[in-house]
Structure formats: structure tokens, C-alpha cells
Symmetry: C2
Subunit: 189 residues, 2 copies
DNA sequence: ATTGCTTTTTGCCATTTGGCAAATGGTTTT
DNA sequence: AAAACCATTTGCCAAATGGCAAAAAGCAAT
């Protein structure tokens, strides 16, 4: 829980009372490796904040292949589709890569916090904005790089993920087969 | 000029007086094919709205290759880097693919409009937000598609550009060589 | 240590794409 | 019409990646 408070306070100040109120509304959930946090098509009931573990976000393309969009690791807020415009689509699946621990708020409670805690909406707004600008990927850089370059970028950008995420998921994230990634990896050493 | 007013009014209402004020501040510029609208490293002096023509946005990667980030066509606002966070980077070049006509405002005038015309900032804010969400590219879709799929997407998404943009630029935008695109094109027919 | 299960690596070959240069086709200028 | 200048297509071969299956390595449970 401290992780969450600490995270939030980076984006604005809150007094003890406010923090207490938020903490009272929060619950802690754990789920195990390979459990879904949510599945495509289902209604999302929670706002979550991941405190431990790694989650994979993926979808199925028109050939039925599972494509990994990205990974979520510790200290990231997971807002549902209709709260942060279209970032998390209802067509996506979120599944735990490792055992996870998460703080969640029901949508009802979340709304109450928004109504009672002055400054909360501006904090969330800031988090969302930062999230947005992180997600505005530099399309052309990606597309004009070959597999090796994309992998090098990946390990540089997400050094903590490399050893916790199975190679097949990284390969899918990087848009190549796992054999190719295995070979690329070999050539880099 | 009408095009600009029409565009802006989609995002909010303005009265005659306000429109007049804006029109008085605006100037029309034309530039020819292959002229630069701006070059990397230079200070951008204007806010522009493209009424006719197509502009190409590109940069040089670390191998010195010219990479096309995207195209701007009619009815698009071009805000400079420090006004719309980092969308237009000072490391980018904007060059006309066809003869262009553009409405421009000096930064000074633009500020004055922001200060005097009530509702102007909210209109601009909406435009920027829309721009943002258009630019949040679906990274994984792109990267997991092969050349043919990317080209088919392109002609579907920008049907008006296909015949006005040289093949080499489209190829660069799609992250492939122009020979490859030429072959892909041939196979599609 | 052995077994069973999962992940990663490797081999083999097909397909795609890149790199480069020449040929072709189109457009503009004179 | 001819010449000059581009843009596009094509040919040739090399490099990168995909597809598939088997082998190897890693890990967990007994």
C-alpha cells in the first residue's frame, strides 16, 4: 500500500485525512502466474495499481495469433478503457506473467474518491498524461529498425523485464518469431 | 481562409467579432514543392494551418538515412514543438511534397489570440487532444505486420495520399526500401 | 537422481526483404 | 522532337526472417 501512496504523491500533495480515505477504499488482491486480470469483452470492474509482478497485455490479430502489445510492471496504474480514453481496449487481455499483487478500487469507490478528495482528479490527470506520452510510440523508429536493433532497444528500455519475461512474449512484442529472437540474442553476445 | 474557420468551428463556437480578430492576424503563405517549411534545429516562428498541398515530415536516423515520419495534408494544424508537447520535434524537417498553401500566425499574434478570444484555448486543446490520439500508434499492429499488410493499411487509411506522394517516401514511411514496395505493389494487382 | 513438463536453441529450407545497378517509363525543358 | 532529369521497375544475389520440428537445456515435483 505504501508503494501506491508513494507513487501518487509524486504527482501532487494529499493530507493525512485524504490518504486515509483512499486507503480505506483500497483492497489488496493477489493473483498467480497465468491468471487473467481481465479478458477481452468483459466489463472491467476495477481500477488497479500493480505493486508486484509483471502483466502482459495482448490481443489476437486477424490470423488468430496472440500478439503482445506491452508489459506492465510494478508501480503502474491500470485504468479501464472508459476512464482513460481507449488505452486499455476491451479487446485486450491482461494476464499475469509472474505472481502479482495489486491494489484495486471498485469503480464505485473510485468515483467517491474523485468526488471527495480535492486534487485527486488532477493527480490522476497527470498520471494519465504521462502514460499517454509514454505510449506515443515513435512509429517510424520502430518500423525502420531491424530485429536486432529492436531487441537492443528493448533491453535498454526495459532492463528489468528481460529476465522475467519468457522469450516468446518478448519476441511477440518485438514482432518476430521466437526462433529469430533466439538467434539474434545469440549473435549479440 | 474559410477552410481554416470551418475547421476551427468544428471544435467550438466563435462569434463574428472573434472570427474577425483571428482573420486579421492571419496571413497566407504559399511555398513550392521541395521547399522546407521548417528545418531541424531552427526556431519555429509560426503556427500554421495547411489549406492546400501535402507536407512530408522526416528526420535522419543514426545511419544518416532519411526516414519519413508521416505526411500532413489539407486541413491540419501545425503547431510548433513547445506548444504541443514534442509532437513536432525540433529535430524534424518539414518539406513540401506538392505546392502548398498555408495560413500562418506569428507566435506573438497567436498569444494575443489566446489572450483575447475566449474559448480559443479550449478549441486548440481539443484539436491537440484529437491529434494526440491519432498519433498514439498501435505499435504492435505495425510491427507484427509484413510489408504487404502495412501497404494495404496505408492505402486504406490515406487513399488521397497514394497518388500524390512519391513511392520512395511511402516506402520510407512504411519502413521498407522502394524496390520492395514496388514489388509489393506489383503483387497486389 | 529420475521423470515430466516447459522454455529455448538449433537445423533445414522457403520466403521476404535489402542492396545495388541497370533498364524502363514519365515529365519537363529547350 | 530531342535532351535532360526524375521516378519506378526489374534483375541479381545476399542477408534477414519465417515455419516447422527435433534436440537441448532448464525447472519443478517426486
Amino acid at each position: 500500500m505504501e508503494k501506491f501512496i508513494e507513487f501518487v504523491l509524486q504527482f501532487g500533495n494529499l493530507n493525512k485525512q485524504q490518504i486515509d480515505l483512499i486507503v480505506r477504499k483500497a483492497s489488496v488482491v493477489e493473483f498467480r502466474k497465468d491468471e487473467y486480470y481481465w479478458e477481452a469483452g468483459k466489463i472491467v470492474r476495477y481500477i488497479g495499481f500493480l505493486t508486484d509482478g509483471v502483466i502482459r497485455v495482448f490481443y489476437y490479430n486477424n490470423k488468430g495469433e496472440e500478439i503482445t502489445r506491452y508489459f506492465i510492471d510494478e508501480n503502474h496504474l491500470i485504468l479501464s478503457g472508459n476512464m482513460v480514453d481507449e488505452i486499455y481496449k476491451p479487446s485486450e487481455y491482461l494476464s499475469a506473467i509472474t505472481d502479482c499483487k495489486m491494489i484495486i478500487f471498485s469503480k464505485q469507490d473510485w468515483k467517491e474518491i474523485l468526488d471527495t478528495v480535492i486534487g485527486w482528479d488532477s493527480i490522476i490527470q497527470k498520471i494519465v498524461t504521462r502514460h499517454h506520452s509514454e505510449k506515443i510510440s515513435r512509429r517510424s523508429e520502430l518500423i525502420s529498425q531491424d530485429g536486432t536493433e529492436r531487441y537492443l532497444d528493448f533491453i535498454q528500455k526495459f532492463p528489468t523485464l528481460v529476465n522475467r519475461v519468457p522469450l516468446s512474449f518478448i519476441a511477440s512484442y518485438l514482432g518476430m518469431t521466437q526462433s529469430s529472437l533466439s538467434r539474434i540474442r545469440k549473435n549479440i553476445l
